[in-house]
């Protein structure tokens, strides 16, 4: 094995951290939606892709990355509200597979619509000028934009945690994912909460999309492999568990980044091997509770 410099290793760890943050944002949205309403949203990846495309469009339209960073996730969130209200809601009470099937079809529709609107060729989204270049952190130079992504994700996670732990709505969400029947018996209209959570999860996917846009290429199918990897993150972390989503997201980020460094051909494969290993040793995931939501 060739000599590996510490700086190169640090850079790779850092890349893994940034990638992990994107996974965390996606996995939290998936996990929140699943935990509360046992719906697997296959179109989550399309919402992620749409976040990046809307970001591209809004940067061009308003010439401000900052406006786009706020508005694109909001628009994706509104789309999520519409999807829950008009497409998912009629399926409650039917087989648990039906929302997955429906959002699978929706995903194909969104991908084709994006191709029709923005063309088949991928786009590139530039980071804002203020975040160009790199910063010296003492032990290496790091791209400013990627540091920014880490900071934004951390902020969002703290905000989300406060929302879930410190607000009444958060309490209802946590209660609803434990025992929705009980919460409804207490006179709470859970349908509003489902709507809200679906919108929130979608907005998080949109945010992940616009954040990832300047780091990865933007193309119509970009969400598909990413959503499958996010499923893996959720499975590894434990379905419905937020700490699980965070730990597993960061772990998978490192797995991808480290194998890209040491054995590039195995980068996509190792993710699945980690999943198989976790399934063998802890079938309910690192933070999942056995028997819960099987």
């Amino acid at each position: 094995m060739p000599e590996i410099s510490l700086a190169a290793l640090a850079a790779q760890l850092f890349t893994g951290l940034v990638l992990g943050m994107i996974f965390v944002l996606l996995a939290i949205g998936l996990s929140l939606i699943f935990g509360l309403m046992t719906v697997v949203n296959f179109s989550h990846g399309s919402f992620y892709m749409l976040g990046a495309y809307l970001g591209f469009f809004l940067v061009g339209y308003t010439t401000s990355f900052w406006v786009a960073l706020v508005v694109a996730p909001l628009l994706v969130g509104i789309l999520g509200l519409g999807v829950e209200r008009f497409l998912i809601r009629p399926l409650y009470g039917r087989s648990i597979d039906d929302p997955l099937l429906l959002t699978f079809g929706l995903s194909a529709v969104i991908i084709e619509l994006v191709r029709l609107t923005w063309g088949k060729i991928g786009l590139s989204l530039d980071p804002p000028r203020a975040l160009a270049g790199a910063v010296n952190l003492g032990f290496g130079m790091f791209p400013t934009y990627r540091l920014f992504v880490i900071a934004v994700t951390a902020l969002v996670l703290v905000g989300l945690w406060l929302f879930l732990e410190r607000t009444n709505v958060g309490l209802v969400i946590r209660g609803g994912s434990r025992d929705s029947l009980m919460v409804r018996a207490l006179g709470i209209d859970l349908r509003k909460v489902w709507l809200l959570v679906f919108g929130l999860g979608s907005a998080l996917a949109g945010l992940a999309g616009i954040l990832a846009g300047p780091m990865r290429s933007v193309y119509a199918e970009m969400g598909v492999t990413t959503v499958i990897e996010s499923f893996v993150v959720v499975v590894v972390g434990g379905m419905g568990s937020l700490p699980g989503a965070i730990v597993a997201g960061l772990l998978i980020g490192q797995v991808v980044s480290m194998t890209t460094f040491f054995a590039p051909k195995l980068a996509e494969i190792n993710v699945f091997l980690v999943m198989a290993l976790v399934l063998l040793l802890r079938p309910s995931g690192l933070f999942g509770e056995a028997g819960l939501m099987e």
Binding site: L101, E112, A276
Partner: protein
Amino acid sequence: MKRAVVRAVAARPVLAFALVFAVFPFVVPYKALATQVLIYGLFALGYNLLYGYTGLLSFGHAAYWGLGAYGTGIALARLQIGSLWGALGAGLLLAGVGGIVVGFFCLRRRGIYFAMLSLAFAQLLYFIAFHLADVTGGDDGLRGVSVPPLRLPGVTLALDSSLAFYYFAFAVVTLAMLALKRILDSPFGAVLQAIRENSDRAVACGYDIRRIKLLSFVFSALFCGLAGGLDALRLGVVPVESLYWTTSGQVVIMTLLGGAGTFFGPFVGATTFLVLEDRLSVVTESWPLFIGLIFMAFVLFLPKGIWGTLLARLR
């Protein structure tokens, strides 16, 4: 009249299949489409065993289709096996082994987990095939798969014309359908449907449902592997996309369009899908948009599918 037809087909599905598909190549615009319908129909049929009858939603059946295709393709193009049966057998073997291994892992979890896991494992196989270019041809696909002559006791037939190959595929698919009918009509088939309806009750009845589910998974993988092997022969090449998630999606769409959990539904679905794709792609490049919308409408308003709805009307 229509009801009588539906009833007759439902009563003797394999016979009805044989009668329709004996003349099918002369009904559709071109013969290549007829062969494609047959092979994808078998794929959907195998998928339906797991989803429609056992109630396990797999999003990764590209894995067994692809393994069957690669097994057959590698036997012919790399190992120079000159026997048609040997090549199809190699595909079946690979698909069966894949079914055992993946089934073992996926069946550790139930419900929606199962769907996601099956998808993840299929993607794993896709990436392996993608990177193992020495064996699989990687991104370019496995080229140079030529169809060896069909050897039966006493006769040897060349399958070089598209019509000859169609009737060969027709014979294989008919045999597979008879086998599937036999499986579904057996006590084992009844247990599968019991698991679909209420798996806890099936456990309470004393069935080892994990073993039965795995068996159903492997049977399903074998049917899909056979379909994949036939497709490798049809195309003369195994594209790496055989293992890609889009292939899994196609079989889900076909099965649902036709009617999951009905014997004939998957064939109706495969025919509908392929004819739609064929017609739409002439008109517009965005044909997946329309397939996606039609599929969504079916999930929302017609979850029993075309054939399932016709059958339900009988009652």
